[in-house]
Symmetry: C2
Subunit: 401 residues, 2 copies
């Protein structure tokens, strides 16, 4: 049985914790498993290095940043290998290059193009535990690249795919995926299983356990993902294909995203291409638009609403000034949040969305915007009602049962 494990920055944040990780890896080895272990930089290291670079300029060259930032994971990989060897286990540390990870040229947010697993496979066949520095690869010219935030998860999933590993275990300080944020709703329950698609909705909506790129890649490669804690022996949550038994579960979780600002454009001239123009300009300014809602107009104009991260609202306002002539009025609101109900069962049960709306109505929470997909319903509401909405919805769908 071949397992790929990945330990995040908090799990390897101190030498004691690296030792703890070594013990976990050793235990899995003792159980007869073949292992590839992907590690992040010790927590704080990457941010420290970014601060160092920003001492000189706010816009350091990306090639240089990749050389700088890739060092953190190398350190952890070498240390974990040393820790395992000290316990009498055969281990070998590899950089992204040595693990055969080739990416495109997009420094600081490169995409993995291919993995040549020969070196890893040889080491496994020699009985060694392979430790890989996550978050990095090399481009075709052999220059080191990094994969962006969450890149170590991506490394682990891609390696699991390339080696046809039996499963990929992502370790962090959270012991799985919950029906909602336990800090908001203490009755939140850990899920045993969740589908890739639900996980994608959960993570993009604010659950920070797994980044979307990794879940997308796991889905594409058919990698069985486990989200687990490195600080407990809990089973964690399995992220996998939808199964029949899942369909019976209507709703898997409720997610709150407080980092939202709402923009409403009233009386937008209803000429072809106006929406495309607006969102192109926003994209050019690197503004991440999240929800978009357009109502059909009655008098040759239309109302258009969208949300952006709060930090990007000022930029969005600047962009919108270009459209003064096309728009009657603009409305901005930073004091909003997004509450979403996620579940694969939803698509075949129309009553799920209706229950969300009535639950909020029962609590006198006004819904400002609604957006639905096959497996989620998202609602923009006044920020101050966010936690109340989460608890009410969690109750309404009986997620604590």
């Amino acid at each position: 049985m071949l397992i790929v494990q990945k330990y995040g920055g908090t799990s390897v944040g101190t030498l004691e914790r690296i030792d703890n990780v070594a013990n976990r890896v050793a235990k899995a080895r003792d159980e007869g498993k073949d292992l590839v272990v992907v590690v992040s930089a010790m927590s704080g290291e990457t941010n420290k290095l970014i601060e160092y670079a920003h001492y000189f300029t706010k816009h350091p060259a990306k090639k240089e940043m990749d050389m700088l930032l890739s060092s953190g994971e190398r350190v952890t990989a070498a240390l974990l290998s040393i820790a395992l060897q000290a316990k009498g286990y055969e281990a070998v540390a590899m950089t992204g290059r040595q693990a055969g990870i080739v990416t495109d040229d997009l420094h600081t947010y490169a995409r993995i193009e291919s993995i040549d697993p020969t070196a890893m496979r040889e080491a496994i066949d020699e009985g060694k535990i392979v430790i890989v520095a996550g978050f990095q690869g090399v481009n075709k010219e052999g220059r080191v690249t990094t994969l962006g935030r969450g890149g170590s998860d991506l490394t682990a999933v891609a390696i699991a795919g390339a080696l046809h590993a039996d499963q990929c275990e992502i370790y962090s300080d959270v012991d799985g995926i919950y029906t909602t944020d336990p800090r908001i709703e203490p009755k939140a329950k850990k899920l045993d299983t969740i589908s890739y698609d639900e996980m994608l909705e959960m993570s993009s909506l604010g659950a920070k356990v797994l980044q979307n790129r990794s879940v997308e890649l796991a889905k594409k490669l058919g990698v069985k993902l486990y989200a687990r804690s490195s600080f407990s022996d809990n089973e964690g949550t399995l992220i996998t294909e939808e199964t029949n038994s899942m369909e019976e579960v209507l709703v898997s979780g409720v997610v709150l995203d407080k980092n939202q600002a709402r923009v409403t454009l009233r009386g937008v001239t209803d000429r072809p291409g106006i929406a495309a123009e607006i969102f192109n300009k926003l994209a050019e300014a690197n503004i991440n638009v999240d929800m978009i809602i357009q109502n059909v107009g009655t008098d040759g104009s239309t109302n258009l609403g969208f949300t952006v991260p709060q930090s990007e609202l000022d930029n969005a306002k600047n962009v919108m000034e270009n459209f003064n002539h096309d728009i009657e009025g603009m409305d901005y609101d930073e004091n909003v949040c997004k509450v979403s109900v996620v579940g694969v069962g939803m698509k075949s049960h129309s009553g799920v969305a209706a229950k969300a709306f009535s639950t909020l109505a029962d609590n006198n929470i006004n819904i400002q915007m609604i957006s639905t997909s096959e497996i989620k319903v998202s609602m923009i509401i006044d920020e101050k009602y966010g936690e109340l909405a989460v608890r009410s919805l969690h109750d309404a769908y009986e997620l604590d049962k």
Copy 2:
């Protein structure tokens, strides 16, 4: 004019100091020079990483250590490149691999086998300042290796040789080579020039400015070396071939090495091979023997003396127990030091050594052991007289003139 500069750990020990180095490099660039800049890890970084590894085991695997330790120089190289770019200069950071440095397989103390300067040359031709992470290369299998302590100096000298640079400037916190340690003798004078051979004697004897391997390589490749301070604009010391004018200088410097312990073996059986046996056993135990002195015996036995670093005296005692049957008595003394007088003029002027002996005699300093080479006289004396001996000899040879 092509210059290779190397900045040591203290010179790049903080972000402010890296900025200072960037200003120095920029100034040289403004003067029209082509530049390759080799950097060490920020001071303290390498030791921190070694301590990290030692948390797990006193004997970490050397391959892992190389992956671990090479990260420090990469960080500095990336940061210096970023700093230069921030000042509007074109710069590119390279790892040892990217700079084309290929070493043998001896992890943690690898030797440079070849340098393919193509990438550096191309970058220089494109008008870029090349920043190279010192202390590292790759072996033929592409695995990262490190060159051991002082490895960044070696990187700089080897690159200067491969690129046929006009000179190689080694920057540290010391502004050159002095006639003796200024902390012992305030009248010590900075030397404008010193020969490779004298420098070799000076550095192996305790002057820590330049490591021997670098000076040897510079001599072999004919690289003109400058030892300079990164904190001043002083000219520093040029280390180069002997010139005629040098011969007039009898003595260049006086060096004190306090890290010495003396071992004296009395009545060693005078059979063939006994000395070889003793020093082979010491070598097998990784004990660095420095001075060796043997007196011809009169009665079928001989007296043998040698010195080792103080930290290795206990190991040496253990080794010597193997020879109990061959040796009448053994004598150990940790409270000794070595004072050496170095100078190329010495070999043609026999009076130089005599003056050293009489100077110490005039100060009632007993000489326990003497060893001479073509360009130096070393004397083992009681440790407490070390500083007095240095000052007296400095005076006797009029080195302050």
